[in-house]
Symmetry: C3
């Protein structure tokens, strides 16, 4: 794959750790799990999106299976969440910020890697979003929650915006660290503002009002 600049790799590793931590914390809150289950859900959250992307573009074995740092950070996030779940519950905001860094970096790297592998614009956008939200979605399915990405607070949309900027930069020939950081920054800001002001993407008329039901699940 295209060389990724060290700063982007650093953000990607940060995001992997944050996803592992946050994914495992969500798991602890939602379902009664043992240590294996908690760490497994942390790993799935952290590595799942990239693994789906790599399977679909044919980058096998997945990148996160070949670089032990991703694996180690995902496991570390899960173990820390297991050990410190009560204390970490009070750190909602910093964890959300780390999580938004992960979402942003994953979306940019996902879209650019798909383009590197010769996919078209539509699939590259899709894979940008999938890289960002795929892991959390599998985790939510495993603990029987309607996936966050489907129901709340601008989660997929900022990832899509980051993927769009990445694809435009790539097609115009100036994709590189500045463009990647700009795309990630836009995603990050939308995501954080979305959480802060509880923004929502438009909903269809006549959709079922069941958020509380599914959240109480």
């Amino acid at each position: 794959m295209t060389y990724q600049p060290p700063l982007l790799v650093a953000l990607d590793l940060t995001g992997t750790f944050a996803f592992g931590l946050n994914g495992a914390l969500t798991a602890v809150r939602v379902a009664r799990l043992d240590v294996v289950g908690v760490v497994a859900l942390g790993m799935i959250t952290a590595l799942g999106g990239g693994v789906i992307r790599d399977v679909l573009i044919g980058a096998i074995p997945p990148a996160t299976f070949r670089d032990w740092r991703y694996f180690a950070l995902a496991v570390a996030g899960g173990l820390i969440a297991f050990a410190l779940s009560k204390a970490l519950d009070r750190l909602g905001t910093p964890i959300m910020v780390l999580d938004a860094i992960g979402l942003s970096t994953f979306a940019v790297i996902g879209a650019s890697k798909a383009l590197d592998f010769g996919l078209g614009i539509g699939p590259a956008l899709l894979l940008g979003v999938v890289t960002g939200v795929g892991g959390g979605t599998i985790r939510d399915m495993l603990v029987l929650r309607i996936p966050t990405v489907l129901r709340s607070d601008l989660y997929a949309l900022p990832a899509l915006v980051a993927a769009v900027i990445t694809v435009i930069a790539f097609e115009l020939g100036f994709y590189g660290l500045p463009a990647a950081l700009a795309a990630a920054a836009v995603c990050f800001v939308i995501r954080v503002l979305g959480v802060r002001y509880r923004l929502q993407a438009p909903e269809p008329l006549g959709s079922v009002k069941r958020r509380k039901a599914s959240e109480g699940e």
Copy 2:
């Protein structure tokens, strides 16, 4: 892969659009989703079965990622469902018919593509069914419904019949447009009659009677 006749491609594209539309409509009815979630579920319904098949036979990247028409029709179905969900609720029968076209074509193409890639009879039958029902199944898992295919109205069975006819025709050396259309037509008729007369495949004795519970989910 084997050249697919234009008529079959046209049916396949029709089915993709119908699955995108129907998948997104189901999503709107079952869960409270924003526009990204509705379109995502439409796309997953329309493209999911073929993507699973292509991953399992090694046709990477998946066919629907390489032909923009599939992608565009799946997105279009999702967007139309989002915009017109109330109006479309009244069009149950035509949408069911379109959906049955998708199921039939997908099952035939899925089984024949698996055979093209050298798989045996058992896996080809499985992949015919998976191509037909896989997308809707992932969608149902995402919105926490027991998948339609597992509980109702002859859905997997007609797909299996289509796959069986396809495999027989293939093994006897006369697979082509007439055989493909015949296989799809048989599936289509069984599916439509199944919905019309609420036919069910046999159930085991002693199974839990919980359909209403799961549908009310």
Copy 3:
């Protein structure tokens, strides 16, 4: 892949049949399904873990699609469960023992196959566990249960132990039938004792007490 000794293949086939039977029985108990749904869930339970492993290491098409015996035993397990679900309900212990054989063999073969394909230690451990528990996990997701592996009775942990022993033996250069059988035996004993004495892996403080709720689902 590395030649697997006949005894290991025999255990693997036994496990495939047991997983098909047990997976389908669980499906019958939890959800109202027709014959297609029951057999489908049996097949998914029996073949799912190995298929995920093979997709992730790039062994496409999956091994169980190329050896008809796996396919046939998975289907047979599902059909027997469908036909005899009431009678089999009384055979809880022998079925649990067969299932533990499957878990043990799958974990050992999964880890050793991942190493054969050049993956590192972390991914090999992960794929050992995934091979053992992946099929049942997909089944549980399909019938809307929190996956067994996440919440009960030492299920993933013995698989992980088997994978650890396998990896150690492999790295020290003496992986073979004796090491494989020893690894599987340790897993089998932990699993059976776990069920017998209702052992649990450690849980985080403050996790939600919802086992009964999810089991009554």
